[in-house]
């Protein structure tokens, strides 16, 4: 792969965002070289406004001059544009299940955990209950598999980076015990496999920096 390949794939992202990180992980798993630009959402670049005029958000993938926005749309695009290390199984029903769990992560599970971690005293009990319920349904789906994708990292595992990595940091800052080995042994085990996976490990942002970033946000 020569240097011109680098110019062909570009990611506009934010290092602390799990949605942006999903795309980093996907590109790294496929072994696709790319150029990364850190975006300042308080001061959006001309490129960002040009490549994602509809939502003006990150992540945005640019490939051969074409831009794609929305992390789950980008992940499926990456899987279809590069055939190695497939993220989705071949069989249509299994594909539908994987897509369902990605959507459920975004629509139900991530918001429940996020709300619990940022909840104030008044709403805390209910928010924590919902977060624990969300983690339970995710663990029930994992069953005894090594990854949601089976023996290898799949689409759901990539989409669940927030669960595998961000949750442990956020719950520590919030002083909550959500994803623990006692409460969710199988899901916890998955999170350890996940963050120690050789490619994922290199693709996640450094823990101490992420901790400092969210701790600073918590103070505001």
């Amino acid at each position: 792969m020569d240097s011109s390949d680098n110019e062909q794939v570009r990611l506009l992202g934010k290092w602390a965002s799990p949605f942006s990180n999903r795309v980093d992980l996907a590109l790294k798993l496929k072994g696709v070289p790319y150029k990364y630009s850190e975006e300042d959402l308080a001061n959006k670049s001309v490129d960002l406004l040009n490549y994602n005029p509809v939502h003006k958000k990150v992540p945005v993938l640019v490939h051969n001059g074409n831009s794609i926005a929305e992390s789950l749309v980008i992940l499926q695009y990456i899987d279809e544009a590069w055939n190695n290390h497939p993220f989705l199984p071949q069989e249509p029903y299994q594909r539908a299940l994987a897509r369902f769990w990605c959507k459920t992560l975004d629509d139900k599970i991530l918001p429940a955990i996020w709300n619990a971690c940022w909840s104030n005293e008044k709403g805390r009990e209910k928010a924590v209950e919902e977060a624990l319920e969300a983690l339970k349904i995710l663990q029930d789906e994992l069953k005894d598999k090594k990854f949601f994708g089976g023996e290898t990292i799949g689409l759901v595992d990539i989409a669940a980076n927030f669960i595998g990595y961000w949750v442990s940091i956020l719950q520590e800052i919030a002083g909550l015990e959500l994803l623990t080995i006692e409460k969710f042994p199988k899901l916890y085990k998955w999170s350890q496999e996940y963050i120690n996976h050789p490619v994922i490990k290199e693709g996640l942002p450094p823990r101490d920096e992420l901790f400092a970033f969210f701790k600073a946000s918590a103070k505001k």
């Binding site: 695009y77 594909r95 369902f100 959507k103 139900k108 349904i137």
Partner: protein, 219 residues
């Protein structure tokens, strides 16, 4: 083995309509089951334990939940006819992006139009019309979002047309005046049997919304 296809649905649901259109486009015979959402059937609760929502497509006993996921599933299983998604990865990504846009914008903004008043309603109306105008731009000169034939985005969007009498009446807006191209596109879609047979009459939906508003104490 003959395919057994069942659709758990609720007749005014635009999400359910999406699956009906996809099944009709592919010419698939199926059993339609209308759910009473205040009294959900044991079958629905069993087939969609996570969200307990319709639509649920059941194919040979296996449930597929979430309307757009069901539409993609139908497209992949019955791939030999009437393709809904394009074959090029970038075009597919664009189709998925715009269907996601419809999910994020149309239903919620539309809901504000018929359930709220005053400033909140005005904001909802603006959001709704702005979204329709953006979609008009995206359509451009094509007859359908899918090009020469209806595709994934058309299927995701046209069901909301059946709610337009309700939006116009309660929002006091004239959608045809604001977005003539959109209305022209919707009427073009309705000329297709797969769409006209899947969408309820606007008046029937309107009457349903009137009842809902009474229940929410909005009348």
């Amino acid at each position: 083995m003959a395919d057994e296809v069942t659709l758990l649905d609720f007749w005014p649901s635009p999400f359910g309509m999406r699956v009906r259109i996809a099944l009709a486009e592919k010419g698939i015979k199926y059993e339609y089951k209308d759910e009473d959402l205040r009294n959900k059937s044991p079958l629905l609760l069993k087939m969609n334990p996570v969200h307990k929502k319709i639509p649920v497509l059941v194919h040979n006993g296996k449930p597929i939940c979430e309307s757009l996921i069901a539409v993609q599933y139908i497209d992949e299983v019955w791939s030999d006819r009437s393709p809904l998604l394009p074959s090029d990865p970038y075009q597919r990504a664009q189709a998925r992006f715009w269907a996601d846009f419809v999910d994020k914008k149309i239903y919620d903004a539309g809901r504000k139009v018929w359930t709220t008043k005053g400033e909140e309603q005005e904001a909802g109306k603006k959001e709704f019309l702005d979204a329709l105008k953006l979609l008009e731009e995206q359509l451009g000169d094509k007859p359908y979002f899918g090009g020469d034939n209806i595709g994934y985005v058309d299927v995701s969007l046209v069901p909301f047309y059946s709610w337009f009498k309700a939006y116009e009446t309660f929002g006091n807006i004239n959608i045809e005046k604001e977005c003539p191209k959109f209305i022209a596109w919707a009427k073009r879609c309705l000329q297709k049997e797969s769409v006209s047979k899947s969408l309820p009459d606007q008046n029937k939906v309107f009457d349903f919304i009137v009842e809902m508003r009474k229940k929410f104490g909005l009348e």
